[in-house]
């Protein structure tokens, strides 16, 4: 189950990264960057 969870998490993280890179609005990019932090910590099983 953890593998499936981490797979979903990785997919969401990839989508957020894609949204950050392609967006032209700095406010959207800033929001995406803030979302990336907890996703990354969770994916690495740190928090």
């Amino acid at each position: 189950m953890t593998i499936i969870y981490l797979g979903i998490l990785a997919a969401v993280l990839a989508l957020v990264l894609w949204a950050l890179v392609t967006s032209k609005k700095p406010s959207f990019q800033a929001a995406a960057a803030m979302v990336i932090v907890p996703l990354l910590l969770r994916l690495l099983l740190i928090k």
Binding site: M1, V21, L40, L41, L45, I46
Partner: protein, 375 residues
Amino acid sequence: MKKHHISAIIFLALAGAAAIVSGTSFLAMRKPDIIVPGPGVSEVVMLSNWYPQLKGTPGDTEVYILGKGNPGASMLVLGGTHPNEPSGHMAAILLIENAVMTSGTLYVIPRANASGFTHNDPQEGAPQSFTIQTPNGPRVFRYGSRATNPVHQWPDPNVYIHASSGQSLSGSETRNLNRGYPGRENGTLTERVCYGIVQLIQKEKVTITVDLHEASPEYPVINAIVAHPKAMGLASETVLGLEMQDITIGLEPSPVNLRGLTHRELGDFTDTLPVLMETANASQGRLRGRTDEALVLTGKDKWYVKAQKLGRLYVPYDENGHPLEERTGRHLAGITELAFSWTLENPDSALEFTGVPAYAELQEKGLGSFLRPLP
């Protein structure tokens, strides 16, 4: 390169930096506190010694044995069942660093839920650690979470069903060590730690088990001993002894319908006499204000003073708070009095130790005076 790509790189770099800083801070919590064994410690072994399946898991934890092989009774002290209740953890550490057995054997587990020390409860604003000044420099101790780290045990069910009774609790209680007894050999990590502790009690024929806790000042069972029916005689004598030292303490019977707790299950499933002790910890209360190291150490909180004036608390509360010295001192006085009461009734199977700081001594000199210098 387009303008929005440059800003994307900048935001990504900032996110990466934030992840590195916060990740380093969270990972640092996995490094256990340094405990310096005192002259009374005969041996330090891991809980997996009694239940090998725990070996290498985040649930495996140190067991300090004092007076190994001594004739007499034995006592197991559990500190850190809930790592956000520091007086139990500190009382266990002071025993390890100071107690010397003159008869009987003492087993001390300072980090009963070792996984719980590796993280904080989200959204509580609790400090990750607190520092105690000693004559030999500062000593730092973890302030953890009430429950096992979800990184180590996941996912929580919607409803936690206690295995041996069928009792239903909220899902997150599945990671609460004091809802998992007597544990299961092939259960969750938390249940396996409970099972390991039960194995220790059974194999070593532990006479008395003391589980050290703290509770919010607004919680009804506080400054109290909770005892299993078969430990009620011993606990009654202990309460009388503490009252004679002007340490006010209540005595509560272990509820029959509240399952999974040490004071109920260890009494039902083993031959040990289990008791649980509670002190007043504002830093885990719902009415508290600013939550920081100072609150953990002093217990001073203006909102609890106000709550006391409104009659909402179950302990006296004034501007002096309830410092960690007082709360740890209450636990140590309770443990000393339990051993004394046992020995009084069972002189042929005595349980005696020296070196443990007395309640008044701890208030006067502070915790730091009884902590050993780091190696």
